[in-house]
Amino acid sequence: MRVFRYPSPPPSSITPHALWLSRRDLLAAGAAAGLVGGSLPSRAARAVDLAAQPGPLSGEGLKPTPLRDVTHYNNFYEFGLEKTDPAERSGDFHPRPWTVRVEGMVAKPRTYDIDALLGRKLEERIYRMRCVEAWSMVIPWIGFALRDLLAEVEPLGSAKYVAFESVVRPSEMPGQGGVLPVLDWPYVEGLRLDEAMHPLTILAVGLYGQTLPNQNGAPVRLVVPWKYGFKGIKSIVRIRLTDRQPRTSWNVRAPDEYGFYANVNPAVDHPRWSQASERPIGAGGGFFGAGRQPTLPFNGYGEQVAGLYAGMDLRRDF
């Protein structure tokens, strides 16, 4: 059996742990002073430190996007359409108690409590994140391989796809109301079973050393680093194995713009804009800082995942 190897960044490109800690001290000081989270309702999540193996990191020469940008520049339409909405309007969201139901074509359907998921052996994975809107980040996720979870429920031979479903709570998620229909709720996503079983595919429960903030998809979300960000469904409540290709929210909304696969591909443009390059978020320097950088096929993970799509026409199955 082929052993999977992660691409490793040079040590110099990894943020020193001490630096993270000092950032967290700052946050803690802010919280103590009532600046951060001082008015959160009692059931709301408070960031909890997660013990994660430094584990296999990924990507070469990756510098994580500042925490502030990772948590304040988000697309999470359940909380609103603006990038700042998820951070500003997710304070009433309760990420616990929480369970994730894993069911469908499996021998042992199970309901996982979030504490059980947080108690698993967690790994840190520094991944590139490429949004379909042509911007990108580098995020130090904490989580575990989805394949490990799926192995526990024992998928049947008939299972070909994995369908994911997000939570619906209009009272806590102001974007699920609204005047114009945005997307059909719940947000749904899907992967082919082999994509879901790929070692790079993780369920994330944290980032930057702590539990996921509400605006990043608390308490548990999907991360598939070679696909556009919208594939990374947030606040998951149900995972279902199936023999049919699942419906996916953006594909239902605009099938000519968002495919089921949604692999990052600089050669296949969005009808309204080019996907050849991307704007790195939080690069600093204002207008004259970073500038665009070329987008890589499969977001730079081609060596690991291109084989999944051998023989497929990626222009048709975009």
Partner: protein, 203 residues
Amino acid sequence: MVARRVRSAGLIRLALYGIGLVPAVVSFVLGATNRLGADPVNTFERTLGLWALRFLILSLCITPLRDLAGVNLLRYRRAVGLLAFWYALFHLSAYVALDQGFDLHTLLADVTTRPFIILGMVAFTILSALAATSNGWAIRRLGRRWKVLHRWVYAAAICAAIHFILSFKVIRVETLLYGLIVAALLAFRVYRAVPHRVKTPPV
């Protein structure tokens, strides 16, 4: 008396340009000094485009305002229209220079294949023609044709409004409102252009 009135109109026009350019200057300074958020180029580009559309709509409001409310601001219409043109130019420049970094390959593909971008370019081209003829010399020179040419401002507004609606992944209330305003202004002009027979009571 008349001279003073003319002079004050000139001052107001000057003030209009000054105030009108404030959003551009402020966001440029913020962006250049890294205070325009996580994605400064995108924010700047969108701000400029939005103000172009706002000034375009304002310039279209001036005639209905006179006809319906009796407020005559006709002498400031050129200034407002030119502000729309300048913002459109800034918006396009930000896209070409800051966003795409003069990447001719991408730019060419954008303006030839993407309806979203083509609509914006059509609006800009029209506004350029209107801006170039927004002076006394062109008005005298073009005579009656000047009016016909400047009616194209409605085509520009329609293209700009659709371009704005398409600039987001989903249709937003805000963008639809701008579209509705443009549609209402156009409807008003069409209604006015059609001769309405006045019913005279039978004798």
